[in-house]
Subunit: 257 residues, 2 copies
């Protein structure tokens, strides 16, 4: 079981969209996948059409230790793909976690109780846009970090801060934490700034940047309003095809390790 945090403190870079569609594409290749919605906004849960009223036990309960993770797991419309949903309660979690013992290890401890019978191949954690205790919990519980990056100037500025944070978590709490890679999102090749930022990132990080680039594609942003991943909403669109290619590239990289 590979646990991957999808993280970037910069807002609106495609963390949730990448979590939803990459997980769906991996599940489509007959792997079993669990998504953890760790963002108080609950966008990943909404992206699968999970009503707020069906989120009785959520990631908030799991992180605070009020419920075992097994009780929070819900199935999605995608065969082989489950989710631990999130609710707005989670926005109070940082302050509540602050005073708890082992506050950085709460999620890691919760993962130890995932029943072996569930047989997940991958767990993807959708992180909120901050470097708060929730995101630290995700990094401490993970094998690696996948960083969606929008090809914009402000997004590039935050990358070095994020890489430093990953290093600090590795040194202090999780020695095996690796950088899974950076995936370029909402890319528009006609935009000089985007082309420039993409080139800069590849110079800076080399092979760590996935070859698959996710294009800006309006069908991708329409899909959540239908409660479906883009791959189910319109599997032929450029965004869906890119996420399917990304899943292939990620699985090939894993096999080579």
């Amino acid at each position: 079981m590979q646990i991957i945090s999808v993280a970037n403190q910069k807002g609106g870079v495609g963390k949730t969209t990448t979590t939803i569609n990459l997980a769906t594409a991996i599940a489509a290749i007959r792997k079993r996948v669990l998504i953890i919605d760790l963002d108080p906004q609950g966008n990943a849960s909404t992206g699968f059409g999970i009503e707020r009223t069906d989120r009785e036990i959520s990631s908030y309960d799991v992180v605070l230790g009020a419920a075992p993770i097994d009780a929070a797991i819900l199935p999605t419309e995608v065969p082989g793909l489950d989710i631990v949903p999130s609710t707005v309660d989670l926005s109070g979690a940082d302050l509540e976690l602050a005073d708890l013992p082992e506050r950085n290890y709460r999620l890691k401890k919760a993962f130890e109780k995932i029943p072996a019978a569930k047989n997940y191949d991958y767990v993807l954690i959708d992180c909120p846009p901050s470097l708060s205790l929730l995101t630290i919990n995700a990094l401490v519980a993970s094998d690696s970090v996948l960083v969606p990056l929008q090809c914009e100037f402000f997004a590039l500025e935050g990358l070095s801060l994020l890489l430093k944070t990953i290093e600090r978590v590795r040194d202090a709490f999780n020695p095996t934490l690796e950088m899974n890679g950076v995936v370029l999102t909402m890319f528009d090749g006609r935009n000089n700034l985007a082309v420039q930022v993409a080139a800069d990132v590849r110079d800076y990080l080399g092979d760590k940047v996935y070859k698959t680039v996710i294009p800006r594609n309006v069908r991708v942003s329409e899909a959540p309003s239908h409660g479906l991943p883009a791959i189910l909403y319109d599997h032929r669109c450029s965004g869906s095809r890119a996420y399917i290619n990304l899943a292939g590239e990620l699985l090939r990289r894993d096999r080579r390790k």
Copy 2:
């Protein structure tokens, strides 16, 4: 002096871009403006070309009470526009504020020490993408809240949570806090979803939604890489003209109050 928080817990909706360009447009109409960069990413500070090495005293020091606000104020290239910059230290502020007395009023207390001689007409606070103690401090210290909203499905989902939070802060900490308004950002009229979301928001909030809509315009996203607001980088582009119109509309609304 009007204090306005530019806030939305949804990431990447144009909070920083709106703060930078609205402040610049207001300053251009001979008003004096102060920006508070309350986001640990420090994008508003970078958008004015303020090097990390020049941010010796920052909003972190001000909120934690380590320095008076006057000591943190820096001029920008725009006449009449100053800024309190932010640094990455701010990402630890939520946890540090948690144990302090009056933790929700720290910024409000700091504003009481702005020297009258500075004569600011407006203070704009660029908030981080969360409903954390930093954002609560901004709401408690403000007269009103301006909400940038991207016309996308996930962004609409977060709006009701934000409005509830504003109400809760008004009831508990700041009885005079008003909703300044919602400004639609990165709008692309050819995109059905965007047109639909814009119509939904106007139905839901009526006059609270500014008539001025900010179009998606690549020049706006290029400007920060030159350390300039879009209005200085390219005052003729559609994005700059929209922010100038927005400033005019905001000032007219204020005069009518």
